[in-house]
């Protein structure tokens, strides 16, 4: 299958859409379907590979980039509406 998402690091729990992925479509990484989306995912945006409980870290590049502000389900869009920067990330 042609890939439509990219995973940078094996620790990542999200992948990045490399083209728009429609609701209900398969998310394909390195030729393998890893999950199905529950909503539309825009190019460059993140989709959860596995459930991310509220408060847990979202990993990209093998590092925590944000934390979930509510429970996030597999195949869900992950962005500023359901995450926040990890407290203490910035000096302020």
């Amino acid at each position: 299958m042609k890939s439509n998402a990219l995973r940078i690091d094996s620790r990542d729990n999200v992948v990045i859409a490399t083209q728009p992925i429609g609701k209900g479509e398969a998310v394909v990484v390195n030729g393998d379907a890893v999950c199905h989306t529950v909503e539309d995912i825009a190019l460059g945006h993140k989709v959860a590979l596995a459930p991310i409980p509220s408060g847990d870290a979202v990993f990209r590049y093998g590092e925590p980039i944000v934390q979930a502000t509510r429970d996030i389900g597999r195949g869900e869009w992950v962005h500023v509406h359901n995450t926040q920067p990890v407290p203490g990330d910035l000096r302020e």
Binding site: L6, G31, G44, K46, V66, H79, V80, V86
Partner: protein, 383 residues
């Protein structure tokens, strides 16, 4: 692993064998340019500095221009000064080691025409002499590779930077040095970089560097600090500043940070080194070149075309549209990760292989186009 390089007296190896004609002060630019017109094979370096500022900027000028002349890609240098400037041509030329570096002062030589004529004769002689020098087997571990990103777009952190990170890891595996700069683009990852340092002391040094940079941005820009410290392109998918900055630092790969150096200073270790440079590409590359980088790998989304004098710059486009739109300016299309379903490691391998060919003599787009803007960090007031 080896590549054919030019041997230098200090044991280093260059990937080029340039004659550099450089002005010590902007008043010398006209003569430098005239020499360049007469001898297109030389690399000319002109700039807006050399006089009229305080000791810190003077020291930085000296470090950058001296560092550039001492770069292993330079086989010989010729310094053109005026005579009354703060940064004296003879003093600057005197800082060059292991290669010919004469200096001419326009006021001593009898004016610009006379200096140009004498400069052309000297530079022609240097070119002749360097032509006789052949490439010899050189270790890849002798390479210092600067890593730069500019004109980034939403895909830079998806395709080009991870691919260059894979190439950076390969360079480090071969014993080479790779330099990560652009401290403003590390903001938000101080705690992450700290963890990646080889020693706790280095960790604290990096944390101080990045946090200090963040404070300076806030102090200088005030309410406009958001221009620098933002998640970047929220519409493009970036959810936090940490994510944005991680997208930048990923071009340095995954190996431990072994050293932190000041702007334009030479790394002393093999492996991944952090240099404190600004986000502004030209000034940042000047820091790398003055620090002895023989090669720079530069990712771009929107299409930065800048090379650098005497240092080949490999351009890696993050997306196919930029690559296809600017075919004579981009060396690698990391957008092929998306269009052609290639892996990050695939393209990283392509970047690594091309970099070795460039080290061996193949010219980059920026070299062919002679696109080599020059400038460097100046921070203090002008008087």
């Amino acid at each position: 692993m080896q590549f054919p390089g030019y041997c230098r007296e200090d044991g280093g190896f260059g990937v080029r064998n340039h004659v550099l004609v450089v002005s010590s002060v902007s008043c010398g630019n006209g003569v430098v340019e005239a020499i360049g017109r007469a001898l297109p094979e030389v690399v000319t370096v002109t700039h807006a500095y050399g006089c009229g500022y305080g000791p810190d900027d003077l020291a930085a000028s000296r470090r950058v221009l001296s560092g550039l002349m001492n770069n292993p890609n330079v086989g010989a240098a010729l310094v053109i000064g005026l005579g009354c400037e703060a940064l004296k041509a003879e003093s600057l030329a005197g800082s060059v080691r292991g290669k010919p570096a004469p200096a001419l002062e326009i006021q001593k030589e009898g004016g610009s025409a006379a200096t140009t004529a004498r400069g052309v004769a000297i530079a022609a002689g240097l070119l002749q002499r360097l032509k006789a020098q052949e490439r010899v087997p050189a270790p890849v571990s002798g390479l210092v590779v600067g890593l730069e990103c500019g004109g980034s777009d939403a895909l830079s952190g998806v395709t080009a930077n991870p691919a260059v990170g894979a190439a950076a890891d390969r360079f480090v595996a071969e014993g080479a040095t790779v330099i990560l700069g652009e401290t403003t683009e590390m903001i938000g990852t101080a705690h992450i970089l700290k963890r990646r340092c080889a020693t706790p002391q280095l960790g604290e040094q990096v944390e101080r560097l990045v946090n200090g940079c963040e404070s300076q941005v806030r102090a200088t820009l005030g309410p406009l600090a958001g221009m620098v410290i933002t998640p970047g392109n929220i519409e493009g998918g970036l959810s936090s500043i940490a994510e944005k900055s991680l997208g930048c630092i990923t071009k340095a790969g995954t190996t431990p940070i072994v050293e932190v150096v000041d702007y334009a200073c030479r790394p002393s270790k093999s492996g991944l080194v952090i240099m404190d440079t600004p986000g502004y590409d030209i000034d940042s590359m000047a820091g790398f070149a003055a620090g002895g980088a023989q090669l720079i790998i530069f990712t771009t989304g929107r299409g930065s075309i800048a090379g650098f004098p005497a240092v080949p710059v490999v351009k890696v486009a993050s997306n196919s549209r930029t690559y296809e739109n600017m075919p004579g300016d981009m060396d690698v299309n990391a957008g092929s990760i998306i269009e052609e379903d290639r892996t990050i490691d695939d393209v990283g391998g392509e970047v690594f292989d091309l970099s070795l060919r460039v080290a061996s003599g193949e010219r980059t787009c920026a070299e062919i186009n002679r696109c080599a803007p020059f400038g460097y960090l100046k921070q203090g007031p002008t008087f």
